[in-house]
């Protein structure tokens, strides 16, 4: 029957997935980056690359956001802030690590004030490599994440292998 709980569940899930895929709002946090990735993320939002066509909007508050976009290695002072921003986000939440530093600590691996890469602090759902990644690469990474959202699965990314930076 049309009113069975299963059917209502299905409809509700369908609507939320549709809404989530079409308006994934992001929040951006720089936990020790050099700005390179940050300006590329910002460039992705502006008319030339126009990521808003996927319904993506940069939000100021973690409570409005679905995706946390992280850049840079995690410094000791920023670690607690990063966790706090993540905790404030509503479920389901996703984390995208942008740039080499976010993936492996990059050129800053081993510095005294660096805790490590983002994976050591938060579970990461997508990695976008590059120093910094081009806006096209950022769009590509985000679209891959959106495809997973559409299927209702959580991506299982493999962190790119890195050499020994020390």
């Amino acid at each position: 029957m049309i009113t069975t709980p299963n059917f209502i569940n299905k409809v509700v899930t369908g609507i939320t997935t549709w809404a989530r895929v079409n308006s994934p709002w992001i929040i951006h946090f720089n936990s020790g980056s050099c700005n390179g990735c940050d300006i590329e993320i910002l460039a992705t939002l502006t008319p030339y690359y126009d990521i808003e066509r996927f319904g993506i909007k940069l939000k100021g508050s973690p409570r409005h956001a679905d995706i946390l976009v992280c850049t840079g290695p995690v410094t000791r002072q920023a670690r607690e802030r990063l966790l706090r921003v993540y905790e404030q986000m509503p479920e389901p939440k996703f984390v995208v690590a942008v740039g080499s530093c976010g993936i492996s600590g990059g050129t800053f691996a081993g510095c005294y004030n660096v805790v490590g890469h983002i994976d050591e602090v938060l579970p990461v759902d997508a990695y976008i490599p590059g120093c910094p990644p081009r806006p096209e690469a950022i769009i590509d990474g985000v679209v891959k994440l959106l495809n997973h959202l559409k299927e209702g699965t959580r991506p299982q990314p493999i962190r790119p292998e890195i050499g020994d930076h020390a």
């Binding site: 936990s31 990735c37 030339y48 050129t107 800053f108 005294y112």
Partner: protein, 556 residues
């Protein structure tokens, strides 16, 4: 006045305190003084008009030598006078504060004390500047015997960022460290009395990575790529300053063509940085159309940078001994075409920011800084030039190709936000002109010359004009494959003093514009900072504050 005369003037001023003098380079004078004479020597330098305090380098000479040095670098056009104060490595070395004479020195002194373990007596705020709150006591990263294992986090009660509430009849409005507008974490607390700001404080260090220490563990060539990543916006500035200093130490003569290409890229970097700034400040004012326009036009220069260097952000064009890529006829054609487009657009923006009535409400007469204040607070770059203070390394101490391709300096007497727009946009037009001249008159020569693996022992100072002001490098080599010490002082650090001091007495609604107006760059800085604090608190995110500023002006 030439450089010798300037150095002689400094020498005369310092004569009563001098223990020893050296002249390591033709434009430098090193004067060894006693720690007790520091404040008097600083006063003598300022009284004789021997330049401004540009940086303080903390130098550990190692366990065998048994002492450390604090170097107070005064820059006066091309002349650099360094006061060297010797300090014991044992016990608790002490030095007097000069922050009452030079306000910006409070930042340098905090850095000195936490990085080298020197107690600065009488400094306004001795708390941590760069290092995290959980840093152990008695561990100083810039000492030669520092080990990363010693720096394990310790449990302690750290002052939490205030949540909400009020104390007495004052509010503190904390902003950050997470805020969407600046793209970088910094934490500000403004004490407000109603609408008016009565005190300002900031805590950075969220992006502090420890690059200065890391340079000592990497070789000369690896450092080029590490230092490039101090800041993604002015990456070329850092590689140029570093390469220039190391080439001076190694006595390697770089070809004029390579120098001209470096200047060309520096000009393009300035265009991208200023257009980025224009967009961000327009966004703070609620003028998003200008934000989108300027960022669209910025893509022109990004494409050009990519065409020439292969990279949009970290160009990696400088190498030790020259540059990697040449400018051919195809590139010069694209450069001219891009300049045609950009010049037209910049003129249009200049027209908007100086005539649009709505926009002028947000900029005219806001944050006005007089020339004397700019000198006192040690402002640099466009922030200083908008107050009529001509401070530009490209003019004061022409380096590289600037000797042959000089630039004209844009200044403005008004000192408010409007003047900052005018200075930066006119500077863009000048830069476009310089780029055209450079492309048309590129000198002949090899791109690179051979560079040795080891750099001879010595110390050098290298100064470069970044888009935000003077970047200061002090490089010391002991003849090995790695540097012994690299001290970096970036321009945003100096400009913070001016913004935080000018904030007092302004409306809270003007703060986002004023902070963005100096074009702050946290990643360069955090490698630092604070001013004042009062009690009480109310939480307002940067986003809310920005929205509040826009609303406030809408309802007037």
């Amino acid at each position: 006045m030439n450089t010798e005369a300037r150095l002689q003037r400094a020498k005369d001023a310092l004569a009563p305190f001098t223990r020893e003098t050296f002249a390591p380079e033709t434009n430098r004078l090193d004067v060894v003084i006693d720690a007790g004479d520091l404040t008097k020597a600083t006063a003598a330098m300022l009284a004789a008009d021997c330049g401004y305090l540009s940086a303080i380098t903390g130098l550990d000479l190692g366990v065998e030598a048994g002492y450390m040095e604090a170097l107070y670098h005064f820059c006066d056009a091309a002349a650099v006078t360094s006061l060297r104060v010797r300090l014991s490595r044992e016990g608790q070395p002490e030095i007097d504060s000069v922050a009452d004479q030079v306000p910006v020195a409070s930042f340098y002194e905090r850095e000195l004390s936490e990085m080298l373990g020197v107690t600065v007596v009488g400094t306004p705020d001795p708390t941590h500047l760069f290092l995290p709150d959980d840093w152990p006591d008695g561990v100083f990263p810039n000492r030669r015997d520092f080990k990363i294992e010693d720096a394990a986090p310790v449990e302690r009660d750290v002052p939490k960022i205030p949540e909400q509430g009020r104390m007495g009849n004052k509010f503190i409005v904390p902003i950050g460290p997470q805020h969407p507008a600046l793209k970088e974490p910094g934490h500000f607390e403004f004490a407000v009395d109603g609408e008016i700001i009565t005190g300002a404080r900031m805590r950075l260090g969220y992006v502090h990575r420890g690059i200065e220490k890391a340079t000592e563990q990497r070789n000369w060539i690896q450092n080029l790529y590490l230092l490039e990543r101090i800041c993604g916006i002015c990456s070329h500035t850092h590689t140029s300053a570093y390469a220039m200093g190391v080439e001076k130490l190694a006595q390697v003569e770089v070809s004029p063509r390579a120098l001209a290409i470096r200047e060309l890229i520096a000009g393009m970097e300035r265009i991208h940085s200023h257009l980025l700034w224009l967009g961000v400040v327009a966004h703070e004012a609620g003028f998003d159309t200008l934000f989108m326009y300027s960022w669209r036009d910025r893509e022109t220069i990004m494409n050009l940078l990519e065409e020439i260097t292969g990279n949009r952000v970290n160009y990696s064009i400088s190498v030790l001994g020259g540059v990697k890529q040449d400018i051919g006829p195809a590139e010069s054609k694209s450069i001219h075409k891009a300049m045609d487009y950009l010049e037209e657009r910049i003129r249009y923006y200049l027209d908007i920011v100086s005539t649009d009535a709505m926009f002028l409400q947000r900029t005219r007469g806001i944050g006005t800084m007089t020339r004397d204040e700019a000198i006192l607070y040690g402002a640099l770059g466009p922030t200083a030039r908008a107050s009529g203070l001509v401070r530009d390394v490209r003019l004061d101490s022409p380096y590289g190709a600037y000797k042959h391709f000089p630039i004209s300096i844009v200044t403005d007497e008004r000192g408010d936000l409007e003047a900052k727009f005018a200075v930066r946009l006119k500077e863009l037009l000048v830069t476009c002109f310089t780029i055209r001249t450079l492309v048309d008159n590129l000198p002949a020569g090899d791109l690179t010359v051979r560079f040795p693996r080891k750099v001879p022992a010595g110390e050098t100072v290298s100064r470069v004009e970044a888009p935000r002001g003077e970047a200061f490098y002090f490089i010391k080599s002991e003849g090995g494959e790695s540097p012994t010490r690299i001290k970096i002082r970036t321009p945003s650090l100096c400009n913070w003093t001016s913004v935080l001091n000018k904030a007092v007495g302004h409306q809270l609604a003007d703060m986002p514009m004023m902070i963005s107006g100096m074009d702050p760059c946290f990643s360069c800085n955090d490698r630092m900072v604070t001013v004042r604090r009062k009690n009480g608190s109310q939480t307002m995110s940067w986003f809310d504050l920005r929205a509040y500023g826009i609303e406030k002006y809408k309802s007037r």
